[in-house]
Symmetry: C2
Subunit: 411 residues, 2 copies
């Protein structure tokens, strides 16, 4: 039996990072960058108006105020999208639109709300009610991004804003890490597929669906290979098929009972065992092994154990394959609603619901903590980690690690 931290270390060390592939921008969303993305041109690419208004030379507006506005001639207009080349002469302003190139000699913008245009003797003029400071309401070339700098780092997930950034800098294609292809197999003579008729003594396969969703959320490509039966032949066939993918995840059949053949079948199929038992509750009988570059997980059959072991262990293999940094779950502080005690010799993960209360969160432990009770995850938001023998008092501040938040934080 090894610790969760040791188990994670082994997974991180043994799992390879996949190769990369170029994809068109539109297909990069949700993928992981395989390159440091460098900026090809300054952004903005030119000095531009940050507001709709009038381009002026600041000295021409000196002492302007609402009681005594400065009056300037309006010498033309600059809509966005027009090339540069215009020039301000003394005593003149130009009507300008947000995003438009500044004319030469302009060092400030008076926004439209602080000016008033009028016609005098057939000439366009503008009253300016506020003194303009040099640089006012201008976006300077390179103010956002400088040519050549790295703006998105290798290993970063293309979130919506990273996706916008790729477009912003004009990237037609981007190099991302290949998606891990993940085979999912349930095991057990008592397991039926949803849609099949169920008899006494049988239950539906739920682990495959949970894992399917977890793989997808983590950026992998899940494949449901169905249910293997509790006999060496059926198991061998499933393992053989599963070893054609990047990751094989089997649920069920990894505890010590004599019907638990999975671990033996792994060995006979050439999978080198790297660990089998992890000191966590729930989820102790968790197998990890490798054949060539394929990594193999055997998760316990109980739905809670399967879900949590994915969150606690398998996610590390997916992140490593994707070339991401080591995953960290988002943590919130919360006050414990009732005393918690872990009298077990393993680390325990207590499922809790987060309840918002004025300026704090309350962590409410789910009343059912057995590993067969799937509702304890359905009705919770995260876990409180108790070391073996640890006790936490009612009202004590605890750290709740939130489900499904790996990779959410940038830092």
């Amino acid at each position: 039996m090894i610790s969760l931290w040791k188990a994670r270390g082994i997974i991180w060390k043994e799992t390879p990072t996949l190769s990369s592939e170029p994809v068109p921008l539109i297909h990069s969303l949700g993928r992981t960058l395989a390159e440091d993305v460098k900026v090809a041109f300054d952004m903005p690419p030119f000095d531009r108006a940050a507001m709709d208004g009038y381009a002026v030379n600041a000295t021409d507006t000196r002492c302007a105020c609402s009681q005594s506005p400065v009056v300037l001639k309006v010498a033309g207009e600059i809509p966005a999208g027009t090339k540069g080349g215009k020039k301000l002469t003394e005593g003149c302003a130009m009507s300008i639109m947000t995003g438009a190139v500044l004319p030469a000699n302009c060092d400030g913008i008076i926004k439209i709300e602080d000016a008033e245009e009028f016609i005098e003797n057939g000439e366009r003029k503008v009253r300016i009610f506020k003194e303009v400071k040099p640089g006012q309401d201008i976006s300077f070339r390179g103010e956002d991004l400088k040519k050549g700098e790295t703006i998105l780092k290798k290993g970063r997930i293309v979130t919506p804003v990273a996706f916008a950034m790729l477009a912003y800098i004009g990237r037609k294609r981007v190099r991302v890490v290949r998606k891990p292809e993940v085979a999912i197999v349930a095991t057990g003579d008592e397991i039926k597929k949803v849609g099949e008729k169920i008899s006494a003594g049988e239950i539906y396969d739920s682990n495959s669906y949970g894992i399917y969703g977890q793989v997808l959320r983590a950026g992998g490509n899940p494949h449901l290979l169905g249910i293997a039966r509790d006999n060496p032949g059926s198991l061998s066939r499933s393992v053989k098929r599963g070893l054609r993918y990047d990751i094989l995840i089997m649920s069920g059949g990894v505890s010590v009972g004599k019907y638990d053949l999975v671990v033996n079948v792994f060995k006979e199929s050439g999978v080198k065992m790297l660990f089998w038992k992890v000191a966590v509750k729930p989820g102790k009988p968790s197998f990890f092994g490798k054949k060539g570059e394929v990594v193999v997980f055997g998760l316990p059959g109980y739905p809670v154990s399967s879900y949590l072991n994915f969150e606690n262990l398998v996610i590390f293999a997916l992140s490593k394959m994707l070339g991401q940094p080591k995953p960290e779950r988002l943590k919130v502080e919360a006050s414990l609603e009732r005393e918690l005690k872990n009298s077990d010799d393993r680390d325990s993960f207590v499922r809790v619901k987060i309840v918002s209360e004025k300026d704090r969160y309350i962590a409410v432990p789910h009343p059912a903590q057995k590993s067969g009770v799937l509702r304890s995850v359905v009705e919770s938001d995260g876990i409180v980690h108790l070391k073996r023998g640890e006790m936490r008092a009612k009202g004590e501040k605890v750290t709740v690690e939130l489900f499904g938040t790996f990779g959410l934080l940038i830092s």
Copy 2:
């Protein structure tokens, strides 16, 4: 100019909830439930072994200990998946597998680690080293779920664990809310599509891509309708096309400059204006309107304003359409790295990065807070909300609302 809270209230009130449709289980992941999901049978559906071991009658194991084990006859075995109907007789045990139906007269399981099987005079026998308590290591029928109860409520997103739950209770099909179809249009003569050649005075459309990702993350179906030019004809055509979807989002052209025609075109296209200006920084010029059941947003052209206004406003329309509860962003407490001051007359959203430091988070405000600086979002994790005129001291505890976390919490 109305407050953000008032604006959200209007969106919530005016946006319709879409109709629902039944989908096969496998397509329900990520969708929103349109029905209260009721449990069709008790789970577990029968009393079953929670461990691999021996089914016993607790009274037969009285006073068993490692020094003086109790010896029972092994009267057979019960693999998982076999129908019930077996019966324990006094002085007998049966080998049983996790998940298998209990035999009659059995009221406890001794796990395999606490027993030792042997053969005596050709008969299978087992030494039991611990006294079994009634109910020990049994999962009782209905212990997890009771027939008829609601386990997943209408409006809930089908997360991986909810997906597993639907399989667990054998749901072949489930009723979900139709996905909102969202039209995305960028506007501006200076805007080019990624892949096109760019000239002086022009920039690439990034807002459409950001919004595309945000719509997808929020559970909608995004459609890129391209770029409309700053003239009534081009804008009208785009608005007309966009009004065929459930939501139309246009970015750019909603401020007060004379080239900003979008709001007028909305009106001429029959879109009833519900608000135009919101007291937030960045993102003040934000239009919301409605034509029939179609809701229409006009977001400012600046990439930061577009991103934040989606997070602050548009998300409410998507949640309402999907029949979800009012969205709440996940919040973490963090110590402010430097003083913050909002001298504006609008609420301000300061982009901050969260840095983990031992047992606390530090909120580091991004050095660039202009609404044209997209990197301020790319390099941040969330926002600190400052009311108008508000000041927060260095080191003060502030609440950081994390980007992209709407709908993450269950409660």
